[in-house]
Amino acid sequence: MESRKEVFLGHVVLVIGALIALYPFGSILFQALTPAPGSTAQGLTLENFVGAWTRGGFSRSLLNSAVVAIIVVLLTAVVAVLAGYALSVLRFRFRTIVFGVLLVGLVMPSESRIIPLYSMFQSLGLLNTRLALILPQVASSFPLAAFWMSNYFAQLPKSLQEAAALDGAGEFATLRHVYAPLGMTAVATLSCLVFLYTWNEFMLALVLMPDDASVQTAPLSLSFFAGNERTTEPEVIAAAAVLVALPVVIAYFILQRRFMKGLLEGAVK
């Protein structure tokens, strides 16, 4: 039923769309590989990356980002598995109230909590620490993560719980030996999503760690580094941007199914 002309036209449109989607990142990648003015390098070069790495302190900020993101992902996964188990398998009485409270966090923008968070961490003396970035991000990931795990556990057969109970396993043992191992695929997709959000977070980092370069995350460092256009060549800034994007881009191309599933299902919720 499909005519040749339609097939051709449809794919031409798709290719144009794909090129538009690729162009901005492709162009900074190309710019980053181009020798900066005053450089003696010919053709394509990696020296801009070396420049960004040493002058922009990106070895430290990329490490900070990794530490923050990994801790947020692990913490979120643990509390979400526990909560999802309670909400779906144990099915205690007030769970609709809990779902309602979680829904609030799903729809609220971070602007609605950023000012008191700043005051809170200021009075605790925790501004400019990694903790000030980790805790709010676990808090903002928790509603989606709890719904996610709860939905996943709820679709597993009831007989699992009954069989575990017959074997004399208690509630926690059932979670540890039956539900948690089965939930690992859901945890993996969820973790991709949480990692992505945490790695890319900008506003919380800007407000909660503005003054101490030694704890700042990569997007924040990039923002400050790119702000010094008068002293830094655009080629080096482009290299810095590629460095910041690269871990996520590589993870995305390796785990694209998981990312896509996570982003689409996360969006639907």
Partner: protein, 312 residues
């Protein structure tokens, strides 16, 4: 009411954090189940729910963040809704909705309409590439587009090449073009997501419907209006809800491209909130703006969800 908001609310947060544990006494069975919820819920309540309530509280005070706060009732809200500068800020937010939600949805619908009858080869590849803008850090997106819009960037290069050099300018630094230039970055971020959503939706449509429509002599336009558009309602509402939310929360891109300038031509609500709270230090006014922004987001996304569901 001279109590500073931060002090009065720190007792709130302690009380709120304990609330789930208070159920322990009722029945041992329930208490054990609450233990599973407690770690996540405690972090969530202390660092999300309590701050949200505190923002509401701050919005009724005049406070510089240091000296004692003064209760001013609704005056922050009145100030926001009567000041032309803040009103234009929210107006810019609405313009952003056009670029972040409406435009990408229309573009993606148009493209999908062309392709409804085609089985797509390499669908996985196209999906991956179209999704790429979604996973890039907004700061990286901003750096890339700053170069695209720059004086010596590719847009001006193409204009020069076409002999239209008189049109070239610093797109992000020009009063007339800065706002749409920032908006188009949002269109670029969103259009791939819309396309992936809609392509997925179209492939679920029963092929028989199209064959029946064609037997009835329907042209491509009738076919689109009668079959494709109604079938995609769920996906369209998701695309619009995400687009509206991102448009109104457009802080990162603005901060990293124009900082609200030139003048206040790209000042958007979330940037205004940041500036008022952390630079001008009018915490009450910033909080009131945050409350208004949240209300606008909730009302608009709620309305989109509702109309789409009713039509379904």
């Amino acid at each position: 009411m001279t109590d500073s908001p931060s002090r009065s609310s720190s007792t709130n947060s302690r009380r709120a954090a304990k609330r789930p544990a208070a159920g322990e006494a009722l029945s041992p069975f329930k208490a054990r189940h609450l233990l599973y919820l407690l770690p996540g819920l405690a972090i969530y309540i202390v660092f999300s729910i309590v701050p949200i309530l505190q923002t509401l509280e701050y919005s009724f005070y005049r406070w510089d963040g240091i000296t004692p706060a003064r209760w001013v009732g609704m005056r922050n809200y009145v100030a926001l809704l009567t000041n032309p500068k803040t009103l234009s800020t929210f107006g810019h937010g609405l313009v952003m909705i056009l670029f972040y939600a409406v435009l990408p949805t229309l573009i993606a619908l148009f493209i999908v309409a062309i392709m409804t009858r085609v089985r797509i080869r390499l669908l996985g590849f196209f999906r991956t590439v179209l999704f790429l803008p979604q996973i890039l850090a907004t700061v990286v997106v901003a750096v890339a587009w700053r170069w695209i819009y720059a004086n010596d960037g590719p847009i001006n290069g193409v204009l020069d090449f076409l002999g239209l050099g008189f049109l070239s300018r610093a797109w992000l630094g020009d009063f007339d073009t800065a706002l749409p230039a920032v908006g188009l970055i949002g269109t670029w971020v969103s259009f791939g997501l819309c396309m992936v959503l809609f392509i997925g939706g179209v492939q679920r449509i029963d092929r028989g419907l199209y064959e029946a429509a064609r037997l009835d002599g329907a042209g491509p336009f009738r076919e689109f209006m009668a079959i494709t558009l109604p079938s995609l309602q769920g996906e369209i509402s998701i695309a619009l809800i995400l687009g509206v939310t991102n448009a109104l929360r457009n802080f990162d891109i603005v901060w990293n491209t124009t900082s609200g300038g030139p003048g206040t031509s790209t000042l958007v609500p979330s940037y205004f909130i940041y500036e008022a709270a952390f630079i001008v230090r009018n915490v009450g006014l910033a909080s009131a703006a945050a409350v208004l922004l949240t209300l606008v987001i909730l009302l608009m996304t709620g309305a989109i969800g509702r109309t789409m569901r009713q039509r379904h």
